[in-house]
């Protein structure tokens, strides 16, 4: 019980840390990493809560959800990294600059 709670709380902590980093850092690579940290936090919570069923065998459904979630996170990160390169090539900076008015 207490180990499971520890994992779940760590997950929530990672989520919050990631959110903080996402808001504070300007560089896009750091923002993408921050979102990945947040994602890991959510997955940790899911897996940990799956271990809280009464029997010795943990609930498999959250595990399946986490696998789906990881697939989604990997593809989203790939798209984000590709976009990051294009943004840097087009604007010269890897940051979200304000709209330039023509």
């Amino acid at each position: 019980m207490s180990t499971v709670l520890l994992y779940a709380l760590t997950g929530t902590g990672l989520f919050t840390l990631g959110l903080y980093a996402l808001i504070v850092h300007a560089h896009l690579l750091r923002k993408i990493l921050a979102i990945n940290v947040m994602g890991s936090g959510v997955f940790l919570v899911l897996v940990a809560l799956g271990g809280r069923t009464s029997g010795a065998v943990p609930d498999p459904v959250p595990h399946a959800m986490v696998i789906t979630g990881i697939v989604v996170a990997v593809s989203a990160t790939a798209l984000a990294l590709a976009l990051l390169l294009r943004v840097q090539a087009a604007t010269g900076r890897a940051e979200l600059t304000e709209e330039s008015r023509e």
Binding site: L19, G39, V45, L46, M65, V72, A76, A80, L83, A90
Partner: protein, 478 residues
């Protein structure tokens, strides 16, 4: 067991079409149009079936709810699917003229993927499946925004992607909490088991925050105007008409089925934010100098109206909000298409330099004006019916302050629409080179604008479709 599983076809057909378009870039136009027509036929088939047999539940692979994936369609899902099909068909026809060959080969696979994700989202019966479809939708939408290729579009796409990922993670954390507490992700099962507790409140807060961010409710709308205005015109139409509605649809579902007793205070908050969005969006739209940005801020304002149903919570209010959603989808798609035509024709979209486009592009300006009628909410448009229902619901409930918002919002909308139409009739200082606009682009915009208007004339028909499966509760609300 019936013969054709229309729900599955609605998801698989555009998916297969997207793959085919990706693999055969030379035949992309033909394949894309065939797929688009096929999807429309499937929606019609599902609609026909539901008129006869009522709401449909389909267990994919025969597994059933707790373990497998269920697809569920009631009146609410059906209307969203029909809206998507209608706007989708319009955008498909429009894109024939808009994109040159190389860009079309990139546009079609992404657009069909987006369509597949939208259909899957409107048919999903469990909250985890909704998460997956929401992500698919987001990825396809971001790629479509980046299609324009300019520095502005790429930056807007990047911001859009980050917002999307953040919102999805908030939503997923909420799903984790709900699953942990009630042992299911199926909406119908959750609806029976949920009871108010701190965990439910946390889940509700997280999921609502994620979905509000995606639906761009004021003050979380910051990402919408740059993304919607810098994308290519058909993509802007898709984003404003359909993609933002998808997350609103999920919120509506959760609210109606899972959270009914809990949300009175949160409902008031949504209403206040919605009212602020109506006013702020309207004022910002009025201040814009570029046509596409004006239309994008108008979307922010119109999305605000949809949230006015939350504090009222009566069947009539939900129906009004849904009616407004449907007519806004048609009208706003037409408006972005008209803006795309003007941009194509003049080479810019500065409102003060529109230079007599009304005379030179009569069909496009007619489409813009007719769409404007629905956006402002003048009779006999679909926007009028939706607003009227919201107004009546507010008066019945004695919450007159929402009526003030509705009227002020209408006045602001009238001001920014007439500003554009006025400049379209006047002569600008210097003459510029113009280029010809293809027929398909002009008529697709007009067809959707007429559909928005028509929605006001045949109001009984969509209202009776809303009754299928009683998504808004049992009481009859005029």
């Amino acid at each position: 067991m019936r013969q054709i599983p229309w729900e599955v076809m609605l998801i698989l057909l555009p998916l297969a079409g997207a793959m085919a378009c990706f693999l055969l870039p030379r035949r992309t136009l033909l394949l894309g149009l065939i797929t688009a027509l096929g999807v429309v036929v499937c929606v019609a088939g599902l609609g026909w079936l539901m008129l006869e047999q009522g709401a449909q539940r389909y267990a994919v692979g025969g597994w059933g709810a707790p373990l497998g994936i269920d697809l569920y369609a009631d009146g609410l899902s059906l209307l969203m699917l029909m809206m998507t099909a209608l706007v989708g068909l319009g955008v498909s026809v429009y894109s024939i003229g808009y994109f040159e060959r190389r860009q079309a080969a990139l546009f079609w696979p992404l657009w069909l993927l987006l369509w597949s994700a939208l259909n899957a989202l409107f048919l999903s019966a469990d909250i985890f499946n909704l998460y997956v479809t929401l992500e698919l939708l987001g990825l396809a939408a971001v790629a479509l925004v980046a299609l324009a290729g300019s520095a502005n579009a790429l930056t807007a796409a990047m911001r859009y992607l980050l917002v999307n990922m953040l919102a999805s993670l908030c939503y997923l954390l909420g799903v984790a909490l709900l699953y942990h507490n009630f042992g299911s992700v199926d909406i119908a099962i959750l609806a029976q088991r949920v009871e108010p507790s701190p965990a439910v409140w946390a889940a509700m807060g997280l999921m609502s925050a994620g979905l509000l961010l995606k639906s761009a409710l004021f003050p979380l709308h910051f990402w919408l105007p740059p993304a919607h205005s810098s994308a290519p015109a058909p993509v802007s139409a898709l984003l404003s008409a359909l993609v933002v509605k998808a997350s609103f649809y999920i919120l509506l579902r959760l609210w109606l089925e899972i959270f009914p007793p809990a949300g009175a205070a949160l409902g008031q908050l949504f209403g206040v934010l919605g009212a602020a969005a109506v006013l702020w969006g309207g004022i910002q739209a009025l201040r814009q100098t570029r046509l596409k940005l004006l239309i994008a801020y108008s979307t922010v304002a119109q999305l605000g109206y949809l949230f006015l149903a939350f504090p009222l919570g009566s069947t009539l209010a939900w129906k009004g909000s849904l009616y407004l959603l449907l007519s806004h989808a048609l009208a706003k798609a037409a408006m972005f298409m008209a803006a795309g035509n003007i941009l194509h024709f003049c080479g810019h979209d500065r409102i003060t330099d529109l230079d007599r486009v009304a005379q030179r592009l009569p069909v496009t300006m007619t489409a813009f004006a007719l769409a404007g009628v629905s956006i402002v909410g003048l009779p006999p448009s679909g926007g009028f019916i939706g607003k009227w229902m919201l107004l009546e619901a507010a008066l019945r409930d004695g919450q007159w302050w929402w009526v003030v918002t509705l009227i002020l919002g209408g006045l602001l909308a009238a001001a920014y629409i007439f500003k554009v139409i006025g400049y379209a009739f006047t002569q600008a200082g210097m003459l510029r080179q113009t280029s010809k606009v293809p027929m398909t682009m002009e008529w697709a915009a007009l067809a959707l604008a007429l559909a928005a208007l028509l929605l006001g004339l045949v109001a009984l028909w969509p209202l009776s479709l809303m009754e299928i499966g009683l998504p808004f509760g049992g009481e009859s609300g005029g």
